[in-house]
């Protein structure tokens, strides 16, 4: 590639410019609803009924007002706690199971693995109603445990990490075994550090997915102080009244932490999927 002649370089640069213009326009289309969201969050209540995008004057006071009207920080904390616990539990249990499926030899292993894979096909809705029933019987409705536990065990995560661990050279754990390391130490000190991109990929998918999960928190939470952000924000959008400007301010604030996490970790996200590979 580096030995290309100057004419091809030039044409490549020119096509590169058009590519950037195209991508720039696409990006703007993707971002436009968010610009509208931020501008709407700076409007006054009467201005919401007007078609223009621009508020007459930026109402920065809308942002503090969100905290007065709903316990925003409480909802945010609930979401972070729930998504954080789900992510931690899911990554740990999936990594252990993946280690067992990818690196340990035991009879019937592959048959059990395919059973696991099969469960990915089940619609979550089939399990939703009885899961709720189980939570009622155990008295876990309206508790953090009830929000976290059903989401904490995933066949998808096991599948992703197994594919990833299959790519790590076997010689490494054999060497560790000769040195007399236990299975647990091999897992903890050899395999886990080498699986870091895969773990981060799974962690991002899980965290983002659970931070916004709506269905389960909606049926599981009864008291306001257990509401997660997606459920709590609906306070601004009910049949009785709509405070769209405050809703948009709340949504804007709820997106920011996720964007920061993504920007910081995105390079590892891509490499995690690359090495893991998606083989049908």
């Amino acid at each position: 590639m580096a030995t290309g002649t100057s004419t091809t370089d030039l044409s490549r640069q020119r096509s590169g410019l058009w590519l950037h213009v195209l991508l720039g326009v696409l990006s703007l289309i993707m971002v436009a609803p968010f610009i509208w969201m931020v501008l709407t969050s700076l409007k006054t209540l009467p201005e919401l009924g007007e078609p223009g995008w621009m508020p007459a004057k930026f109402q920065w006071g809308n942002y503090p007002e969100v905290f007065f009207v709903i316990p925003f920080l409480r909802f945010m904390a609930n979401s972070l706690v729930v998504a954080g616990w789900v992510t931690a539990l899911q990554v740990l249990t999936s990594a252990m199971a993946a280690y067992s499926f990818a690196r340990l030899e035991w009879p019937g292993r592959d048959r059990v693995f395919f059973l696991y894979l099969g469960t990915m096909m089940l619609p979550g809705l089939v399990m939703l109603i009885p899961n709720f029933e189980i939570m009622v019987r155990f008295g876990l409705v309206d508790t953090y445990a009830g929000l976290v536990l059903p989401a904490a065990f995933s066949a998808f995560g096991t599948f992703l990490l197994r594919q990833f661990m299959l790519g790590i050279p076997k010689a490494l754990d054999e060497a560790a075994e000769i040195d007399g390391a236990s299975k647990w130490r091999i897992f903890w000190e050899v395999i886990l550090p080498l699986s870091r991109p895969g773990l981060i990929t799974l962690a991002i998918f899980t965290f983002v997915g659970n931070f916004q999960s709506f269905f389960w928190p909606l049926v599981m939470t009864k008291s306001v102080d257990k509401y997660t952000l997606p459920v709590g924000l609906l306070f601004f959008d009910t049949e009785r009244g709509q405070a769209t400007h405050l809703l948009m301010a709340g949504v804007t604030m709820s997106v920011i932490p996720l964007v920061i996490v993504f920007v910081l970790l995105q390079r590892q996200l891509i490499s995690g999927i690359q090495i893991g590979g998606v083989k049908g």
């Binding site: 950037h20 195209l22 991508l23 720039g24 326009v25 696409l26 990006s27 703007l28 289309i29 610009i35 969201m37 078609p51 995008w53 621009m54 007459a56 740990l92 249990t93 252990m96 199971a97 280690y99 067992s100 340990l104 030899e105 035991w106 469960t119 096909m121 089940l122 619609p123 809705l125 089939v126 399990m127 939703l128 109603i129 009885p130 899961n131 709720f132 189980i134 009622v136 019987r137 065990f153 897992f187 983002v208 916004q212 709506f214 269905f215 909606l218 997606p230 609906l234 769209t244 809703l247 948009m248 949504v251 709820s254 997106v255 964007v259 993504f262 995105q266 996200l269 998606v278 049908g280």
Partner: protein, 493 residues
């Protein structure tokens, strides 16, 4: 000696599996068995709970019979499939985005200067806006500056920025996005109809300026185009059939799709019926063609032409074309009269026929930059560069490179995404309906998922809802098996 090693291995293997398998048993297997049992009872949340314990009745298959007999259930099933017509577009969008991004990312990467430059431009534009005051002119300036800063940052960061911006809808994919789009779709104040209003006014004045004959010709032209396209397509199908490359599965799939199409035609009204019918007809064609063992769309046999690709691509062009043409036939005669008073923009979510297309547009927007795009990006970078170098030596055009190298090499990823999308699509639509439409107007956006939720959790009829959930499971299962059996063939041969 050997047996102890084996049993030690088993012990270790199971111990590592234990945490996951306990959760799996408690929250997957047990609920599964429970819901299967519940589907055969009259379990009602209001009658059977921890405070009142009215004895349960075993109902046999009554729940299932009641479901299959209720017209609403079939309508909701139809809605679910209708919304799934958007999936191929979403996949294509992700692929195109990934292709564009992968071309940019071969360039240099100077992330830090790019970020600094973009931040400076952004802060400058924000200050400018504050200084100018909020006005319509400031609005356009904001967009221009944003575009400029995106370009600057994009050129320097080599795609990182674009990727982040494309992925942005994912962070709010929950309820926030739905409420946002509900406002965007607002017929009076939403920006979509404000923009469309200008456009339609222009179209109306153009039609008014034309002699009425032209407008009356629209349905005729549309009908002719539909006929031509259908004949062309059926001839392709015949050719594949004569080469005995369409199997039994194709016939079964075709029959099912025909039945679905007939159902749409009989039970839906007005424009919605025509849309849905033409959509279903095209889906039928796409299905049948994609099941043909080795598709040869343009009559040229190619050694590397495999995967579901070309049929999906053809179908994606045809589906909107058929829909547009069908709309032309319906709306054509009324055009001059409508243009005289001004063509109204659709009411989107409040309109029975427009609510589903509105949801599909939103889903497309959210799906382009989703995890699918990231999977495609990863898949693209896994293609060995030697393949492209060899193609370059043979003087292949970029279209040939795509269809003969990129697309077949991506077949496993596409297969994975297609399966996941179909499974997700069948179970989908709940959150949209809950946050945007409450399933309306007149049930036109109620999918099976929302139906199960409203029956089970709002009306309390858990038994009935469980039965619906199990029918949904059967559907997912059958479609997945079908996918694995026939979709996988192209991937592995």
């Amino acid at each position: 000696m050997k047996t102890t090693a084996r049993s030690k291995g088993l012990l270790a293997g199971l111990l590592f599996l234990l945490p996951n398998i306990l959760g799996f048993l408690a929250f997957t297997l047990v609920p599964l068995a429970m819901s299967f049992g519940m589907a055969f009872t009259n379990w009602d949340f209001l009658k059977h709970n921890m405070f009142r314990d009215v004895p349960l009745h075993f109902m046999g298959i009554d729940n299932f019979l009641r479901l299959l007999r209720s017209a609403d259930f079939w309508l909701y099933l139809g809605n679910t499939f209708y919304l799934m017509l958007g999936l191929p577009f979403a996949m294509a969008g992700s692929l195109v985005a990934a292709l564009l991004l992968s071309r940019v990312e071969r360039g240099r990467r100077l992330i830090l200067p790019a970020m600094i430059a973009a931040t400076v431009v952004l802060i400058a534009s924000a200050l400018g806006m504050v200084w100018l005051g909020a006005s319509a002119r400031a609005m356009w300036m904001l967009f221009a500056l944003l575009f400029a800063s995106v370009l600057v940052a994009g050129v320097f960061s080599g795609g990182t920025l674009y990727r982040t911006l494309f992925y942005l809808p994912n962070f709010t994919a929950g309820v926030a996005t739905f409420v946002l789009w509900k406002k965007l779709y607002n017929p009076d104040t939403g920006p979509i109809n404000v923009g469309l209003g200008w456009l339609l006014d222009g179209v109306a004045s153009a039609i008014n300026a034309m002699p009425a004959v032209f407008a009356h010709g629209v349905p005729v032209v549309c009908a002719l185009l539909i006929a031509t396209l259908s004949i062309w397509h059926w001839r392709r199908l015949r050719r594949l059939w004569d080469d005995s490359e369409a199997g039994v599965a194709a016939i079964i799939g075709g029959g099912v799709s025909l039945a679905v199409a007939a159902f749409f035609l009989l039970s839906w009204e007005g424009m919605g019926g025509l849309y849905a019918w033409s959509g279903a007809a095209v889906v039928l064609l796409v299905w049948v063609l994609s099941l043909a063992r080795r598709p040869r769309p343009w009559g040229k046999p190619k050694a590397t032409d495999k995967g579901l690709g070309t049929e999906v691509a053809v179908g994606m062009v045809l589906i909107p074309l058929f829909m547009l043409l069908a709309a032309g036939i319906v709306a054509g005669p009324g055009l001059p009269a409508a243009a005289a008073v001004g063509i109204p923009a659709p009411d989107w979510l409040a309109d029975y026929n427009w609510a589903k297309p509105a949801l599909m547009i939103m889903m497309l927007w959210a799906a382009i930059g989703s995890n699918n795009m990231i999977l495609y990006l990863a898949g693209l970078s896994n293609i060995p560069p030697e393949l492209y170098e060899a193609a370059d030596m043979d003087g292949a055009s970029s279209t040939q490179r795509f269809w003969n190298i990129t697309w077949p090499q991506l077949a496993p990823v596409t297969f994975f995404i297609a399966i996941m999308s179909v499974i997700g699509g069948l179970q989908g639509g709940f959150e949209m309906a809950r946050a945007m439409t409450q399933g309306g107007p007149a049930g036109s956006t109620t999918t099976l998922a929302y139906f199960i939720y409203s029956e089970g959790f709002q009306n309390g009829s858990m038994g009935y809802a469980s039965a619906a959930a199990w029918i949904l499971f059967l559907l997912v299962f059958v479609l997945s098996v079908f996918n694995f059996r026939y979709g996988n063939r192209h991937v592995n041969d």
